[in-house]
Every structure is written in C-alpha cells, then in structure tokens.
Symmetry: none
Subunit: 539 residues, 2 copies
C-alpha cells in the first residue's frame, strides 16, 4: 500500500519571484486550469492584498470550477496589532479562496533582525493570525520561513513555532528552506526528529535550489515523514528557483512508490511544463530532467545501437510515462514516428513508406534545423501536412509588401504597410496604418482579404511572441515569431523564422490566415460549384 | 582535519556529448588552461582514438605545462582480442597523456545486450586492458559503466568487476550512474557497503542528472566514502547533463568541510563557469546555483530591507566566496533603498531626502510601470541617475529616422534605414541597409556617429532580446527590447519600451551609444578646451 503525497503548486506565487517571470491575470488563469488538469491538490494563486492583478485572479478563478484548492498567500499579522484589524488577513478572507498560506518566522535571528520584535510576540502573531483565518472557515497552511536555519540555531524555538501553529489549528505545517542552503542529510535528520516529536502533525516541505539540491531535499523530507510538497513547474522561483515539481512528481511516483497524481495525468507532465514555459515566455532548457527536449535524446554511435536493441540500456524510465519521447539525434527514425502520430491526431492519411510522406518528413526536419518549432505551432504543422496530402487550395497569392516607418523628434513612430495580393486572378492593393510594423501588416492584409472572405472578420490575433534564437549575433540573429489567433470556436498557433523580425512575423501572419481559410473557397470556385450543381458545366 | 577530494573534470569529454556543446581543439585548450587555474586534479581531454581534433588537443596540451593530469578516455579492448593489438588502447598510449580513463561494463544485462559476450570475457577485457596501460606507465581510472544499475541487478558481478579492475592495478574505481536513474539513498547504501568490502580501493563517483539528483548523488557517495568526483563545468553532458562541478565544489568545501581546491581559486568559480559557457557558446541560465547572475539577486521589498540589515537573512553563503556578487533588483516591488544602493555601487552622490533624488525615483517607478525593467539594463539606469545628477552632456541630437521595408514574391526582405542627427550643430544624414530593421538602424546610426566618435568602432552589439509585455493585445501589445553591447573592456545593457518594436529598439540603441560615449566630448568642445588651455577665450 503506497502513501499519498499532496502536491502544492506555488508557480503563480513564489514562481513569479523568478527573474524574467511575469504573469498577467489571464496568464495565471490559463496556468491554473492546466495545473488543475494535471491534478495538483493546491494552487497558490498570489497575494490578494498586494496588487490588483492578484485580486482579479482570485475573483475570476472561482468561475473556472477547478478541483484543486485555490490558496491565497499572506504574512502573519503585523506586530502589536489585532489579527481581525489586519488589512492583509482581511484581504485573504475577501479573496474567497478556500485555503490560505500564512508565512511566519521560525528563525530567532530573523525575529530580531527582520521583524525587530520579541520571540513571544512572534508566537502570538502566528497564533492569532491562524486562529482568525480558521474562525473564518479557511483551511490554513502555515509556512515556517527559514525553518531549517532556525532549527540549527535554536531548535527549541523553531519547534515551539510549529507547535504554536498547530495549536492554533493549522492544517499543514510547512518547513521552508528559504535560503536554500540546507543539505539532504540535514533535512532528513531534522524532519525525522520532528516526525516523532509532532506525531499528529501534517508536515509539508518547501525547498529552494541554491545548492542545486531542492529536489533531493524534498525527497529527503518525504522519506523522513513529510506528506506534502510545495514546488513550482520547471522550478521557477527567486534566485536559483524553487523545488521543481516536474522532477519531484515522477521520481516520487515512478521510483519511490508514492501516489501523487493519476498515471494518465503524469503522461501530461511534459506538455504541462512546455505550456507553462510558453505562457511565462521563459526559455525551457533542452536538458531539463524528465520533460526537456533532450532528456531522452541519444547522440549517436554505440549508445544508439544499444538503445535500438533495448531502450533500457540508456534510459532510466520509459519517456512516455511523463509524456516525453525518445529522440535519436542522428537517425531518420526519430522524427518520422512523431510526425506520423501528429498526422493520425489530425485524421490525415500518412504513410511513411511512400515517397511523398518521406519528403514532408525531410522538409519538417529541415525547417526545425533552421529554427522552426512545431511543438507549439500546430496550425503551421497541419498546413504542411495537408499541403503534402494535396488538400490545400491556395485562395490568394502574395505579390509584394512595402512598409514605411518614420519618426521625427516631435512625434512617435508612424508605421504604414502596403500589401499587394492576387485573389481570383485579380490584383488587390491595400494600405493601412498600425501602431507597430506587425500591426500595420496585419491590418493591410485583412483589408485586402476580408471582402472576399468575411469569415476573417471573426478571427483576431490573441498572442504574439518573439524569441531571439542565436543571441550571440545580436541584431543579425535569427528570430522566431509565434502568433496565436482565435475565433469563437478555436485557438491556433503559427510560426515564422527569419533573421528579419518583419519577415518572420509576415510568415506567421500569412499562415494564420491560410489556416483560418481552410475549407473556404474563392468567389470563382463558389460560382463554379453553383454552376456544377445546376448542371451548367459538363464534364 | 578535513579529507581531500580529488576533482576529475570531464567537460572536454563527457561534457561535449551535451546537445549544443561543440568544442574545437583551440576551445579545448583554452578551457584546459582555465580548469588548471581553477585547480582541478584531472582534466579528461577526449578520446584520442576517435578523431583528429582530439589527437591535436593531446599533442598541443603538453606544451601548456599544466599542473593537472591530462587524461585520455577509451573503451576496454574488444572482445576476443589481445589488448596489445587494440587500436584504441594504443592511441591512448600514443596520446602522451599521463593518465587514462578506461570504461568497462559492470551491468550483466549490458554485457549480454550491448557487448553480446560472456560475463567472464568481460572481466578478462577489463583486466587485460588495465594491465596493458599500467605496464606502459599510465595512471588508470577505471569507469564502471552502469555500476548502480548493475549492482541492483547482480551485486556479486558488479563487485567482481571492481575487484578485477583493482587486481589489474587500476588507481581509481569509478562507480558510474550512467543512466542517471539512481536515488541518493540508494547511492549511499551501495557505496557504504562497497567501502567496507573494498577497504583499500580509491572510489570515485560519476553521476548524471536525469532525475535532477546528480549533485545530491555525488554528495551521498562522498559521505559514504568515495574520494574522487567526476563532473563537468555547468553540468554539461548528454541528455540532462553530468554532475555540475560548479555546485559540487562549493558545497563540499564550504558546507561539508572537505578540501577540493584552494580558497582563492574557489573565488574564481563564477568567472570560470561564465568563461566556459562563452567558449562553448551555451547560454548560461541566470538561475544557476552559486555562479548564476541571479543566484544572489533579491527582488522583493521586504527581502531587500532585511538584506540591507544583514545579508545572512536571505543568503546561504557570502557570494564573494565563489566569485559572485549580490544584486538588488530594481523593481516595482522594491522601494528606493534599491536605487540608493545601486547609486552607491556606481559611485554617484544620491540623497533620497532631496527633491532632485525623489524626482528620479518617481521617474524610475513610472518607467517601470510602463514596462521598463532596469534589473538587467544597468546602463540605462546609470544614464538616468547621471542625468539627474547633471553629469551628462548630450553629444548629438536626434532629428528623424525613416525606414523602408520591401518584399516581393521573388526575393527576401530588404530593409533600409535613413537617420538624421545633429552633431556639433551640423546635420548629418546617413542611409544604410541591414538584414533586419534593427540591424539597418544600427548601421545607419553608427555611420552617422563614428566619424566624430571613433571610439564607437570598438563597440558592437552582442545580444538582443525582445519580450512582448501584454500579450493579450497581440500585435498592438507593448514590447520591451534589451540590447547588450560590448567593447574590449566592458559589457553593458540598455532597454527600450514601446508598442512599436522599432521604436523600442531605437531607444535601446541610442542609450547604448550614449553610454559608450560617457566621458567623451564633441569636436567643438575639444577645440573649446584647447582654446581655454591656450587662454584664447576670456570668461
């Protein structure tokens, strides 16, 4: 019989302390939905007392109907005040979340240096704040900040803090290694002692990666009796980051026999990690354990021939268990099966043994080599596959575009785009302004097409991402542009790559519109169809 | 009395198996020199039998006169052959290196599946190969591939392999966790058993990061009695990488009391890590433990005020011990104390009680609210602070720029920029092409300025980053551009924000050049100075 471990995700709170991580309320809602699909038990959404973005998140998240408990974060009450008068505690209650995380000091040095109060007042701050939230019906997770540093310095006081929190009714007691400096064997020893001193407590562990030991420290605490893990997707967090749930969950579940999430959800792990990195616009390292693009990549020679005999020779788990896949970097065998499974997903006939299919595989590989990435840009991939299957009728032809950008000292930049297309054999020439070059191009392109294809009025661009691929070459480097588009029914993403950001954007824009027009016909074709239906044309 | 741990670096061999890591013979020689300065005991340079690049490395490295032992890597002899006739073993001897690493199988499953031979023949292969190299005067490190997987499957055989290697004269017995799937407590138990079964052996540990546990696994082995660590700088290596020496060395030395390298060399660690990442052309993650740019960066207001009282409140070690430094991120969350400490760092007088200083604080906060980020853009921040101190003379005035971008169906995009500036009261008008709009602007701007300021010829843009800030609005969203520039002495970063990517880039470009020109004067001013010196102008 295996024990259950509760997964507490703090990507949306502690994760956003990471350098370069910044999430809008919309971003947070999208990630919360994804975390809920993965099956985490707690989603810490932010600090409702701190800013309007977090207030908006807590308000809107309620309508999503998630299974996970939405958790609001805050400090214990200020020193020498009443808990019931504390603005932060009140905003936690007002947030409408089911659970709260309250952080309090457990290192005596911090009580003196940072809080500048007495050890007793700190205990009272913890007791009062937890009691107040419990009286208001919230589940309370108590985060004992700097618990291990505190324990090493003054074990009696650190334990007294946890005991006080428990007496006040805290549902979970979290031991935080806030500075990330504690070692796995120290964690094991301290948590073991605690487990026997506080046998009725639900212990939780929160670690940071300053010694590259956050995952190991979390596992040590679990082995010593903790039953909840606090961490973030991809290990985002302040300084060197928080404990990485994408490494902890599979290790606990596949190697140590604990229950964390459903096995079917575990197979969504790589996808979740990539999704969150896309939303956060943080580059995902190829060598990230379990979920990285190179985590099961084999470079050649002897390893590959052994792998082909039996993948256990150089793989510690089956990559599919975490939703990742084997990549053989030198061999044709790798990409093809991926494309095959994508084609099946799209309901396209695709036979890797015929020459046409092999050609499209080669083309995709070549594009990936140039910097295209189809993991996120499923619409661009679908267009390539349909093209190879002869399923695409091009409804317009590109002739040219020009753009004029102008700035003088007295005004802001003016962007004008001029687009020439051929639709149904006729030239259409349009001009439009925009508040940036891509916006101007988008406006001109739609102006040219929406008369013939009114369906385009229903779509709009909903997301635009630029990534510089080879940053060493500075402004002459390649850029990849991802454009997300939406209509009432669907969302799709397209990709463009070039040394020129305008050209890359243009490519992604055109693909987005081609995708929206799948299944449409031009006016000429429609007339042709009508004529056919009326029997006016003989074959 | 503290035990010594021997540091065995394999960046130049196993590290080059990492995706995106590729080193020329020249690169390898530069890195070897740097590793030697750091004070590692062994530098594994490559596989002399495999390619001409490695042959060149082993030849040329001898003239560098390094203290570290240069080590050549290879397999044990082929099955059913003579060691003395084995081409790989002979090329190890021919390489002229003092030491050799020989890798052999210790997992019975691999002997059957990969080698396709008998357990006895594998033992003979190991014994013969080591004996042959020992007879030729080399120190031998025996790498037992898949040792832990082997031990779990067939402990008698795995131990027999090590025993055989020791009997043949191997100087070090390395237990490799080749697939990276073993957990720290398993490593501890297995190595402890071995330490008592093979009391005279010098045990070495070689781990991989597939579970994000390579560092923890290495520490476990050391605690159980191993005395050598094999790893790479920045953890480069196949799939998820090798054990990261940049995390292991400081932890062993600063936290566990072992001797690895000289304390003065430890202070070169961050510099070494950055140097190797530059040579390998692999982007270094900001959040890398100990040596990353964000490893000691503080963002939140409360954290910052505690840090300013005592840095131990949120730092697990003094960053200077590993050659890194504290960074206070100037961010909306933080107050004026961040800006104050930044001004002090720059040697600027800055008094938050006077009105001028309060004005610049408000301005910076306002800019941050608009999407500017000064965390990375220290040069733009310095310009703002110097401006507020009246320390900046503008050497040129912007009048206008225009840009023409054109694409037709037959060619790629053409970008032309036209820039009009005023320098010394005279209009300068230049035109230039580029392979993107920013590149064209950069070229035109330099063309306009470099005649008056030849110092600009020494600088170039080294990095360019674009981030879309409010992605919901898609192409009408704000973008933030960060530009990194370099000259022989320094690197600096500037920022620009606009709804228009061209305008944002222009801002960052202009700031970069203004920063490069700090302390310069125009021709008119120079003449003025000369005239003043000659007493030709009366005040």
């Amino acid at each position: 019989m295996s024990a259950s471990i509760s997964i507490f995700d703090t990507t949306l709170r502690d994760g956003t302390q990471g350098e370069g991580v910044s999430l809008s309320a919309d971003d947070k809602l999208k990630i919360a939905k994804k975390l809920d699909d993965l099956g985490v038990q707690y989603i810490e959404g932010g600090i409702p007392g701190s800013n309007s973005k977090d207030i908006e998140f807590f308000k809107r998240v309620q309508s999503l109907g998630l299974n996970a408990k939405i958790t609001a974060f805050g400090n214990t009450r200020r020193k020498n005040t009443e808990a019931s008068q504390d603005a932060n505690l009140k905003s936690i209650i007002d947030s409408g979340s089911q659970a709260a995380t309250l952080v309090g000091k457990s290192w005596d040095f911090h009580v003196y240096t940072a809080l500048q109060t007495t050890l007793d007042e700190n205990l009272a701050m913890i007791y009062d704040s937890i009691s107040f939230l419990k009286q208001n019906g919230l589940e309370v997770v108590f985060d004992a900040e700097h618990f291990f540093d505190g324990y090493k310095n003054n074990p009696e006081y650190a334990v007294a803090v946890l005991r006080k929190a428990k007496d006040a009714g805290a549902d979970w007691l979290t031991m935080c290694d806030t500075n990330g400096g504690t070692l796995p064997h120290e964690i094991y020893d301290i948590v073991s002692t605690l487990s026997s001193n506080l046998p009725q407590a639900n212990l939780s562990i929160h670690t940071h990666n300053d010694c590259e030991l956050a995952v190991a420290n979390t596992l040590s605490a679990i082995q010593a009796g903790a039953r909840q893990v606090q961490g973030t997707i991809n290990g985002y967090g302040e300084r060197c980051g928080n404990a990485n749930l994408c490494s902890i969950i599979p290790t606990l579940q596949l190697k140590m026999g604990y229950d964390c999430i459903e096995p079917a959800s575990l197979a969504q792990l790589a996808n979740t990690a990539r999704y969150v990195s896309e939303i956060a616009n943080v580059h995902m390292p190829v060598n990230q354990p379990y979920v990285g693009n190179a985590a099961f990549a084999h470079k050649g020679g002897i390893h590959v021939s052994a792998i082909l005999r039996d993948s256990r020779t150089y793989e510690h788990i089956e990559p599919e268990l975490v939703g990742n896949k084997q990549r053989i970097l030198v061999s044709e065998l790798a990409g093809q099966s991926n494309i095959l499974s994508k084609a099946q997903e799209m309901g396209l006939a695709f036979d890797p043994s015929n020459e046409q299919s092999r050609k499209v595989i080669d083309k995709i590989k070549d594009l990936e080599h140039q910097g295209y990435q189809f993991e996120a840009a499923d619409a661009s991939l679908e267009l390539l596959l349909r093209e190879a299957n002869g399923q695409i009728t091009e409804l317009f032809n590109f002739e040219s575009f020009k753009m004029l950008i102008e700035k003088n000292s007295s005004n802001s930049v003016i962007c004008e785009a001029f687009v020439k297309l051929k639709i149904d054999g006729e030239s259409v020439y349009t001009a439009a302004e925009g508040n940036g070059p891509v916006n101007a191009l988008d406006n001109a392109l739609r102006k040219a097409l929406s008369q013939s294809f009114p369906i385009l009025k229903e779509m709009h661009l909903s997301d635009y991402k630029v990534r510089v691929l080879d940053e060493k070459d500075a402004t002459a480097a390649k850029v990849r542009v991802l454009i997300e588009s939406k209509n009432v029914e669907r969302t799709w993403t397209t990709v463009g790559v070039s040394t020129n950001v305008i050209e890359a954007s243009w490519e992604a824009l055109v693909d987005s519109i081609r995708y929206a027009l799948l299944g449409q016909s031009t006016q000429n074709e429609k007339e042709l169809n009508i004529n056919e239906q009326h029997g006016l044309i003989n074959h």
